[in-house]
Symmetry: C2
Subunit: 172 residues, 2 copies
């Protein structure tokens, strides 16, 4: 089991994303799985809800975005950029129809969370993750740390740089 998978970016990378050319330079080693020492952050399942979403396609999941107290406070106060220490968790489950609910509603309309897929985290540390917009990215599946391409994560989030790289908006 590879607990440590290092991604070393030694040169300027140029990535094309949705037609936009993004470039950055980084010369530091980046260990995507050491963000929490390979462990899920304690108590993340108790964190407050930021919002929910559904992804079709290959993902075909329904998801909740939770935040630790620092993150939720920043969201609620509209504070940008998010302070160091903010952590955002995206939990996802398979997207399944609920026959039980459909019977109650009298029509096929209800979709619920099935088995967990994976959990992803964004961790704000403007020093440690300077090369990826101040956010570290990590992922767990079945409670175990799994490899993520943090530069790809970062690249995808660049279009929402003005919101400190956060796609999710707070849902009141």
């Amino acid at each position: 089991m590879k607990l440590i998978q290092a991604i070393v970016v030694t040169a300027t990378a140029v990535i094309s994303l949705g037609g936009a050319m993004l470039s950055w330079a980084a010369d530091e080693s980046y260990d995507s799985t050491s963000v929490f020492g390979g462990n899920l952050p304690s108590g993340y399942r108790d964190w407050k809800l930021i919002s929910v979403a559904h992804e079709e396609g290959k993902l075909n999941d329904i998801r909740a975005i939770l935040g630790n107290d620092i993150a939720v406070k920043a969201y609620r106060e509209g504070k940008l950029p998010f302070p160091d220490g903010a952590i955002i968790a995206r939990i996802a489950w398979s997207y399944v129809p609920s026959e039980e609910n459909n019977r109650a509603f009298g029509r096929a309309q209800s979709f619920v969370a099935g088995t967990p897929t994976n959990v992803q985290f964004m961790v704000k540390n403007s020093h440690d993750y300077a090369s990826t917009g101040g956010w570290g990215y990590t992922q767990f599946s079945g409670g175990k740390s799994t490899h993520v391409d943090v530069q790809a994560c970062y690249g995808c989030h660049v279009p929402v740089k003005d919101r400190d790289f956060l796609f999710t908006r707070y849902s009141p």
Copy 2:
């Protein structure tokens, strides 16, 4: 503005739901809007997440189900029936496609929470709500208490009586 809307059930009611005949007798007054004195329960938006769901059709919403500490503890421990004091909140928002997310994914697949629709609560009090399975039902829209037909709520939840009238299962 009608803050108090009383539902008085004075006779045996027989309701047909999904082909099943359910009957119960109740002779007490039931004030659906007084469950929290007409106010949203303090701090409910900070409660822990139980699960998420999506409803198509007229509802066309995406929703999160939160619980107070008593409710979440009962869910996690598989405790049935739920103890008095348990409160479950169902928050819903309009279900909207996210063009921003779709651009990042490179295809139309993403749906997020839009504007809030309403918030519904189930409150466990086996004495006060004996006539509706031990649960009181209430609803808020725009922060204000709105009328619900608690007997209809109860009737819909009867098919999951074995799970203490709770449709939602806990999502780990």
